[in-house]
Amino acid sequence: MKILLVEDEPALVAAISRFLEEEHYVVTTATTYASASTAMHDYAYDCIVLDIGLPDGNGLDLIRQLNAGSADTGTAGLIIISAKDSLDDKLLGLELGSDDYITKPFHLPELNARIKSVLRRRLFGGNNLITFGDITVDSLSHQVKVRHQSIELTEKEYQLLVFFMANPNRLLTKAAIAEYVWGDYMDGADSHDFLYTHIKNLRRKLIDGGCPDYLRTRYGAGYLFSKTA
């Protein structure tokens, strides 16, 4: 899987590309509009992660270029990163054909989950099934099965599960999880306790469905979704 990361902040480039490489993606980076434009034309990517606030040009123009340009990049998934939490930008970005929009700052596991979701939609059109151990999730119908047995999850529990499955064997903090599941809505709320309740319910439902306990707390402050103890 080839990913083009367009981002002008070196520290972010380093952190994101390192994270994605750990996820076994092949990452190409571009830090300017010009280099991004060149990189887009030179190779075909499976997914482009694009910061639209570039020093030498508007990233939205890159998308227009992408749409108008070669067929090679036509199938690439596109995720916009923006420092602006602006509805207009978001709508315009999605209108121009981006698959997702994420506002700075974001957690790397969240970006990871979104990339996976985009790739699934773009590349494996027919196959919406995500599997982890005994759990199978249909990302279209939001149906969850444990050993071919359906279990009923609430919307939030489903989101939690997908987030965990996108980031297996990775330490996830409550802050990162809460932000992915609730976004801005729970800002200022004492949501950790609330999160704990949801995770506890999810775990209970999975175990009740006959699933091994993949979810474990680590170091008191984080969670790990893993097949090995």
């Binding site: 902040e9 520290a11 972010l12 952190a15 994101i16 390192r18 994270f19 750990e22 606030g53 420092a83 602006k84 939490d85 509805l87 700075k104 700052p105 974001f106 957690h107 790397l108 596991p109 939030k156 990775r170 330490l171 903090t173 409550k174 802050a175 990162a176 932000e179 801005d184 809505y185 729970m186 800002d187 200022g188 709320a189 004492d190 949501s191 306790d193 609330f194 309740t197 680590r218 170091y219 008191g220 402050a221 984080g222």
Partner: protein
């Protein structure tokens, strides 16, 4: 009092003493002039009589004229009498009243005879002439001045028109207006100068204001990047092994603080943008479905806190708002109730055609009520909150002329927040 009226008033005030003093002065001068001329006439009459006496053409002691004028009477000796002018009155038989008379008394010596000669001139007519002249001059003066005042007020009104236009433009001047005001020029150099100065000033202000706005926005955006770096690097750090529980707890705590900072930053940015009216895009927003959707959104957390959401939403309530701001306005109020309501109590959420009301039970405010909607005023028990939520709600409500009211019922310990739509549209 307008400048014009003040000018006219001063003019009138000055006019009165000038008219009175001027009248008196004029009268005196005319009188003096008349006396001088009369005295000259009398002395030339005296000289004429002397000549006639020399030529023996007058009969002494006989009344020649009315008023016994001239009066010539032989006297014994030359005496010491030098010619004397004096004022007196004599009875006018025709007018049946005494009239003022000017007379010249002198002793003339012709050959060896001496005569006492008195020549007179009735003054009544001259006095009247003097008075008439003075009055007409003063009257003329007043009339001219009155005309001047009228003319002045008319001219002034015309001259000051550009000034009043400028004032009217200044009155409508708004720093945050999208279109900068252009102060109109004038054919009068001073006002043209004023208008040019105002234009410079407003342009300067507008520029400063734009810079300020841009600064706030840029500052907030610039902050986002380092915050993003911190967030991702903390995530990276969490990916390293081995870690101790203490390290993870510290990172988690740091993430939490970063999150707070991000939220604070976003809220400040939002507040600035609302204040700067950077949210145009009025749409008809279905408040009923918005409120219902948000109640659902918070219902889980409310249930978690043991709050009983008592929702009553009238259908089809719409208002023209920016949809994003409408969302923020409602959700901040709901969030506020959700966070501050006493656990295991009822929260009443009511939307009617004219208002949106949230009632929740809770302790009285720990700060004065008028600070409730101020920025960074927080409940001491919740230092984690930004203290901006209600400030943002009030700012948004204000933008759309919606009244945001707050009441506290002491007896039942109930906080009531109400958005009153009736003041708008």
């Amino acid at each position: 009092m307008t400048l014009l009226r003040k000018t006219l008033l001063y003019l009138l005030l000055v006019m009165l003493p000038v008219a009175l003093g001027g009248g008196w002065l004029f009268d005196t001068l005319i009188r003096r002039g008349i006396y001088y001329e009369i005295d000259e006439q009398l002395s030339s009459d005296l000289a004429y009589i002397q000549q006639q006496l020399i030529r023996q053409q007058v009969t002494v002691g006989q009344d020649h004229h009315l008023l016994d004028n001239p009066h010539i009477e032989p006297v014994a000796g030359p005496g010491q009498l030098t010619p004397v002018y004096s004022d007196t009155t004599e009875f006018d038989w025709r007018e049946h009243n005494p009239v003022p008379v000017r007379q010249l008394k002198a002793i003339l010596t012709v050959g060896d005879k001496h005569y006492l000669v008195v020549v007179k001139q009735a003054m009544g007519e001259f006095d009247e002439i003097a008075r008439l002249l003075s009055i007409s001059v003063v009257g003329g003066f007043m009339l001219l001045l009155g005309l001047l005042v009228v003319l002045n007020s008319w001219v002034s009104k015309r001259l000051w028109t550009p000034f009043f236009t400028l004032i009217e433009q200044l009155r409508t001047f708004r720093l945050d207006a999208s279109e900068p005001v252009r102060f109109s020029g004038s054919s009068i150099a001073e006002f043209d100068h004023l208008s040019a100065t105002l234009n410079d000033m407003s342009q300067n202000l507008q520029q400063q204001y734009q810079l300020q706005k841009a600064f706030t926005e840029h500052a907030a955006h610039e902050l986002q990047t380092p915050l993003a770096v911190i967030t991702t690097q903390l995530d990276q750090l969490l990916g390293t092994e081995p870690l101790t529980g203490e390290q993870v707890a510290l990172m988690e705590s740091a993430q939490h603080s970063v999150r707070r900072l991000v939220h604070l930053n976003k809220s400040l940015l939002l507040l600035t943008k609302v204040e700067n009216q950077q949210f145009a895009g009025l749409q008809t927003v279905d408040l009923s479905s918005l409120a219902a959707q948000q109640c659902r959104q918070f219902a889980l957390y409310a249930a978690h806190r043991g709050l009983d959401w008592q929702v009553s939403i009238a259908a089809g309530v719409t208002r023209r708002l920016n949809p994003y701001l409408a969302d923020v306005m409602f959700s901040n109020l709901l969030k506020n109730a959700m966070l501050h309501a006493t656990a295991n109590t009822n929260v009443y959420i009511t939307l009617t055609a004219s208002s949106f009301t949230i009632r929740n039970t809770g302790e009285p405010l720990p700060f004065p009520e008028d600070q409730l909607f101020s920025r960074f005023v927080k409940h001491p028990a919740r230092p984690d909150s930004t203290g901006l939520g209600l400030a943002i709600t009030r700012e948004i409500a204000r933008r759309y002329d919606i009244a945001l009211n707050y009441r506290y019922h002491n007896d039942i310990q109930e906080h009531v927040f109400m958005l009153d739509f009736q003041t708008s549209q």
